[in-house]
């Protein structure tokens, strides 16, 4: 129900109730007063008749007495009247006599002798008539009062409606028109109210609240937009990062993974245990477990190899422990681990290639002298530890220089490559090291158990080297080889330089003897 209607209705009901109460009181008061008044009137009528009644009684004039009582009862106020003449025991009456408490009695005196009581005048008021009259007069008053109340209620209601509820309604309408979804469009309300009172104060206060709210709305939105922008950038950073970024929960499960991370480990890794992605989960778990608050270690890193099908990926993983600051209480705070993964496969490959190039002869693909010496030392150490025989062979090509001079370096290079491949194919089957020691000098280190094996191997080696090489369809060339072999037994020890030197000497001696192609000597 609308406020104005309610106020009007309440005022009306209140005034109706009040006027009803007052009208009731008034009614009874008026009724009493009117009754009293009518009774006084009756008494006055009786009093005015008592003199004539006295004369009638004095003269025992029944006609006059009858006239008097008839005259009294002719009045509406009087129901019945009677005159009793004492001396004659005679009563003259008129009207309907009824027993009533309100009987009015007046003694009839001798008109000429004051002390002489000669009769009695009895008058019975017409109670019903009096009450009816009094009641109708009182009711009229009551209705008048209620009618007046109604008019006042309507007038007050209209005034309140005009002066209070209309301005309030206008204010409420203006406030309800405010669209909080568009704070920038909010303007101060203006209902056109001009009186300087509470409604004006309310209107002004509402305006100041509105403007305060507007400022807050706008600043909050600005903040929100800034936060969203920042969030967008963070998201971009996270999603566009080349490094894989993931977040592991306290159980080591992946809870968040960026696209780079997913491209490394698969798109559905979220929820999987990070360590189980690798071949040795225990190692990874051990590294992660180092990251505990008590140990004080906040970062660990590890290089891991991921077998993605047949392809090997080298990954550099950086683990950092972080606290979830969104959770307030210490009990709730979870130990989280951030893992940043760099794919270092390409770098590893480049490194390997560089190392290979540094270690190998670019022409033949064999170990060069420096790395060859290193590998030979390693093999020598191994032979000593495993109690095996060790043979160091110095191979020098025969008739190579004429080929180089006659057919050019390209042909020479081709010959060297071919021979290198042949030697590698042969020694590959055994525990061996082959290096290109000089221009047409090769060194082979060989670890073996059976002493009888060595001459067979050496002869096969020379056979392979001496195989005719087809340079092209018109040219085939053939070289030979002189080989010096020094054999070191298991219990013996010697430096590589010494062995090389001995083998070199043996090779030169062999070269001098045209018929012999190799010499094997025990150290």
């Amino acid at each position: 129900m609308k406020l104005s209607v309610r106020i009007s209705l309440v005022i009306f009901l209140l005034s109706l109730a009040i006027s009803t109460v007052f009208a009731s009181f008034n009614y009874y008061y008026q009724l009493k007063a009117a009754t009293q008044q009518y009774q006084e009137l009756t008494t006055q009528l009786a009093t005015s008749a008592v003199n004539t009644a006295g004369i009638a009684a004095y003269l025992i004039d029944t006609e006059l007495a009858q006239e008097v009582v008839d005259g009294l009862t002719a009045n509406d106020l009087i129901a019945s009247a009677s005159i009793t003449i004492s001396s004659e025991e005679l009563t003259i009456s008129a009207g309907e006599s009824k027993a009533s408490r309100q009987k009015i009695e007046a003694v009839i005196r001798n008109p000429f002798i004051e002390d002489d009581i000669i009769g009695l005048l009895e008058v019975l008021p017409n109670v019903e008539f009096i009450e009816l009259q009094a009641s109708s007069a009182s009711l009229e008053n009551a209705y008048l009062l209620m009618g007046l109340s109604f008019i006042i209620a309507v007038a007050v209601g209209l005034y309140v409606r005009m002066k209070l509820t209309y301005p309030l309604k206008a204010l409420a309408d203006a406030v309800s028109l405010i669209d909080t979804d568009k704070p920038e469009a909010i303007t101060p309300i203006n209902t056109g109210y001009k009186h300087n009172d509470e409604i004006m104060a309310l209107s002004q206060k509402t305006n100041s609240l509105i403007s305060a709210l507007k400022i807050q709305f706008l600043s909050e939105r600005e903040l929100r937009e800034a936060t969203e922008e920042l969030q967008k950038r963070f998201r971009l950073l996270f999603e566009q990062a080349t490094a894989g970024i993931g977040l592991l929960d306290s159980q080591g499960k992946i809870s968040i993974a960026n696209p780079a991370f997913q491209s490394l480990f698969g798109s559905d890794v979220e929820g999987l245990n990070f360590a189980n992605l690798f071949e040795s989960p225990k190692l990874v778990k051990k590294q992660i477990s180092l990251l505990s608050a008590s140990s004080g270690v906040s970062q660990v890193n590890i290089d891991l190899v991921l077998l993605n099908g047949t392809e090997k990926r080298y990954l550099h993983c950086l683990f950092s422990s972080i606290q979830d600051t969104r959770l307030n209480t210490r009990a709730e705070s979870e130990q989280l681990v951030e893992v940043i993964v760099y794919d270092v496969t390409d770098r590893k490959k480049q490194e390997a290639k560089a190392r290979y190039e540094a270690d190998h002869d670019s022409l033949t693909g064999l170990l060069n002298r420096r790395s060859g010496a290193q590998k030979l030392n390693e093999l020598l150490l191994k032979q000593h530890n495993e109690k095996q025989l060790f043979a160091l062979m110095m191979i020098d090509l025969d008739k190579f220089k004429p080929i180089n001079d006659t057919h050019g370096h390209d042909t020479g290079d081709l010959v060297l490559q071919n021979i290198s491949r042949q030697v590698q194919e042969l020694s590959h089957k055994y525990e061996s090291v082959i290096a290109r020691w000089g221009g047409d000098e090769f060194v082979v280190g060989l670890a073996f158990k059976d002493a009888e094996f060595l001459p067979i191997f050496t002869e096969e080696l020379i056979e392979k080297i001496s195989t005719e090489i087809e340079v092209n369809s018109e040219l085939s060339v053939q070289v030979g080889a002189s080989v010096g072999v020094i054999v070191l037994r298991a219990e013996q020890e010697a430096s590589l330089d010494m062995l090389i030197s001995k083998a070199d000497d043996l090779m030169y001696e062999t070269k001098k003897q045209k018929a012999k192609r190799y010499t094997i000597v025990d150290f």
Partner: protein, 131 residues
């Protein structure tokens, strides 16, 4: 005061007289009022009474009613006017002079009248004196 004045001068005092032959010897004031105000038409002993009044405006009349019922002449006239249509009571006959009263008193044995004490003759009998 007025009564006192009459007492000093007996000749001016009003007395009520009847015919000398009347059986009535004396009347009380109440009996006198009843006769003059029309209540009874007889003397207490039953013989007819014919009250005689003075003409309107005479001093004796004024004095008589003042002494008898303490009322003015006007009030007495009003009393009789009120009873004009009733007919139950009749007002006393009015005499125009003292001589007429004297004559009436001589002629009518039932007559009763009031006169100055000085005018009482031997044919009259005083039945009431105002004191």
């Amino acid at each position: 005061m007025a009564a006192k004045a009459y007492m000093t001068d007996k000749s001016d005092q009003l007395v009520v007289v009847v015919h000398g032959t009347s059986s009535t010897e004396a009347l009380s004031k109440k009996e006198l009022i009843d006769i003059y105000m029309g209540r009874f038409k007889n003397f207490p002993n039953g013989s007819t009474a014919t009250p005689i009044d003075y003409f309107k405006g005479s001093n004796q009349r004024k004095a008589f009613y003042q002494l008898l019922v303490g009322k003015s002449e006007r009030k007495i006239d009003a009393y009789w006017s009120r009873l004009l249509f009733s007919g139950r009571a009749t007002r006393p006959n009015k005499a125009t002079s003292v001589a007429e009263i004297q004559q009436e008193l001589q002629q009518n044995p039932s007559a009763i009248a009031y006169i100055n004490a000085a005018n009482v003759t031997e044919e009259m009998k005083i039945v009431y004196q105002f004191d």
